[in-house]
Amino acid sequence: MLDTIQDLGRTGYSRLGINAGGVMDRYAAQVANMLVGNDTGEAVIEIHFPGAQFLFEQNTLISITGGDFNALLNDEPIPLWHPVVVRKNAVLHFPGLQSGSRCYLAVHGGFCVNKWLNSYSTHLKAGAGGFHGRKLEKGDEISFRESRIYFAGLLKPGREYEVLKWQVDTGNTYRHPNEIYMIKGNEWDQLTESSQQHMVEDNFTIHPFSDRMGYQLKGVDLKRSIDTELVSSGVSFGTIQLLPNGQLIVLMADHQTTGGYPRIGHVISAHLPKLAQLRPSDCIHFKITDIGTAEDLLLAQQQELNILQRACTERLNRMVC
C-alpha cells in the first residue's frame, strides 16, 4: 500500500536538494479538489492499488479522480469524476484494478495536515510533510476541515451517499493514452541517427521497476555517438534520461533534483497526467514536438481547468444557500 498526502508540490527548494514531489497526475488531483469546492492546491490522498479502506466519521462531500480501482461506497459502485455526498459511517474501498495507476481522493474543505516548507506533500526520504512525513497506515485518523454545507440535507433517507449529477469530461487530457509528446533535450543530438529513429518509431514498454521517482522503459538499446561523461545538472519531472545500459528512464514526481545522465528529451507538461496513469507493461510511443506546441497544449489544458473551476464553484455556492 502506498497512499500518501500530496498537493501540487514543494517549489523553491531545489537548490537545497529538496525535490518538488507532489501528485503524479496534476490534472486529476486538481479536478478532484474542484469537484468538492477546494482550491486546486489543497491536499489530496494519492492512492495506489491495492488502496486503503476509508471510514468517514462525518458527513462530507468527496470526489475520486484518476485511475479506476472500482471504488465502492458501502459495497455499491460510485463513479469517478463526480462529487459524491457521503453519510457518516460510510466505508470507501477499492477492490479491483480497472485502469490507470493512481487515483485521488479529495474531501470538501481539505485535510487537516501540516505544511512542511509551504507544501502538504509527503517527502518520504526527509520524513516530513503530509501525514507525519510517511505513507498512510492502517488505523490512521486524518481530520478534515468543517464545512458550511449541511450535507445531511442532500442525502435521501436511508441512503448512505448521493452522487451529484455533474461530471467532468476528461477526454482531452487522457486521449491517445500511449502517445506521449516530448521536446528534444540537451543531449538529443548525441544520439546516433539510428537511435534517434528508434526513439520516435519504436514502442517502449514501462518496466515493473517504475515508481513515483521514475519510469524505467524497455526498448531497443539506444547509443550515443560520443561517450563523454556529463557533469550533473538540474533535472525535472518529465526529463527523459539515457542510462549507461542504453535504456531510458523518465523522471517522475519524486525524482532527484540533479542528474548526470544524458537528457534525451522532456515529456511535455500537458502529457504528464496521462503518463502518470500508465502502468508497468503499458507501451509508450514518443512523438517529438516543439516548445510552442507544448506550451499551447498546456495552456489549453489550463483553460479547461479554469472553466471547470468556475462551473464547480457556481454549483457549490448554490448548495450553501
Binding site: 517549489t11 537548490r15 516548507l117 520524513g127 516530513a128 533535472v235 516548445i291
Partner: protein
C-alpha cells in the same frame, strides 16, 4: 554553460541565480545551480497571463536568462568564511578508507591528510536533501564509485571521482566512505533545514572516535 567542473562557471551560474532571485518574475518556480549550469523551472501559464509574451513563453524566459547572464558580473560575490567540519576517519565510520589507502600505497594518515588539506568549494546540492558535492579532491585519493550502491549512514563522508561529499540522511549510496561527521547537515524541522549551500567553502578536520561520541551527545 559547459560540461566541466570549473569554479569559474559555477560562480557565474551562482551569480545568475542571485540576480534572478533579486529580480524574480511571476511564474518563477525554482532554480538550482549545478557544476556548470543553472536550471530554471517556471510556470508557463502564469507567465503567459502576466506578461503576454508575443512569442513563446520559453523565448521570454530565455530572454530573462540572458539578462541574468549579462548582469551577473555586477553581482557582488560575498567572500564566505571557511566552514570547518569535524570528521572521524576511524572504524567503524570509514569502511572504505583502508582499501583506498592500500590501493594507492598510502598510509591511513596520508589519506586523511590529503582529504583534510584543501579548502573545498560546494559546487552543488543535489541527490538528497542537503547532499553537498565538494571539489576537488587530490588526484591521489580520487576514487571511482562502487558498482552497486550499499546502505550508507547519515553523516558519512565519501569520495566519488574527484568529488567528495557528505550523506545528510541514511541512504543507499555508491561513494567510497572514508569517515563520518557528527554534524547534522539536514534537519527538516529547523528554520534552515540545510546547513551547506552552493558556493560555501568547506574544510574537514580529523577528530577521534571519543571526540565524535562526545560531539554526538552534545547535539
Amino acid at each position: 554553460m559547459g560540461n566541466q567542473i570549473s569554479e569559474g562557471l559555477n560562480q557565474k551560474a551562482l551569480a545568475m541565480q542571485q540576480w534572478l532571485l533579486a529580480h524574480p518574475f511571476e511564474g518563477l518556480k525554482d532554480c538550482l545551480v549545478a557544476y556548470s549550469s543553472l536550471t530554471v523551472l517556471y510556470n508557463p501559464v502564469i507567465i503567459k497571463k502576466h506578461y503576454q509574451p508575443a512569442n513563446t513563453v520559453y523565448a521570454w524566459v530565455a530572454d530573462r536568462l540572458q539578462q541574468a547572464f549579462d548582469n551577473a558580473s555586477q553581482v557582488k560575490t560575498e567572500i564566505r568564511d571557511v566552514i570547518r567540519i569535524p570528521v572521524c576517519y576511524e572504524e567503524p565510520f570509514a569502511p572504505d578508507l583502508a582499501e583506498l589507502a592500500r590501493q594507492r600505497h598510502l598510509t591511513r594518515e596520508e589519506v586523511i591528510h590529503l582529504h583534510t588539506a584543501p579548502v573545498y568549494n560546494v559546487y552543488m546540492i543535489g541527490f538528497l536533501p542537503g547532499f553537498s558535492y565538494l571539489g576537488e579532491v587530490n588526484a591521489k585519493i580520487a576514487a571511482p564509485r562502487k558498482e552497486h550502491p550499499v546502505p550508507v549512514q547519515a553523516g558519512s563522508v565519501g569520495i566519488a571521482g574527484s568529488q567528495t561529499g557528505i550523506y545528510p540522511l541514511n541512504s543507499p549510496g555508491g561513494w567510497q566512505i572514508v569517515g563520518r561527521t557528527p554534524l547534522r547537515l539536514f534537519e527538516p524541522f529547523v528554520p534552515e533545514p540545510v546547513k551547506l549551500e552552493t558556493g560555501d567553502k568547506v574544510q574537514f578536520y580529523a577528530i577521534t572516535k571519543n571526540e565524535f561520541m562526545e560531539y554526538d551527545q552534545r547535539l
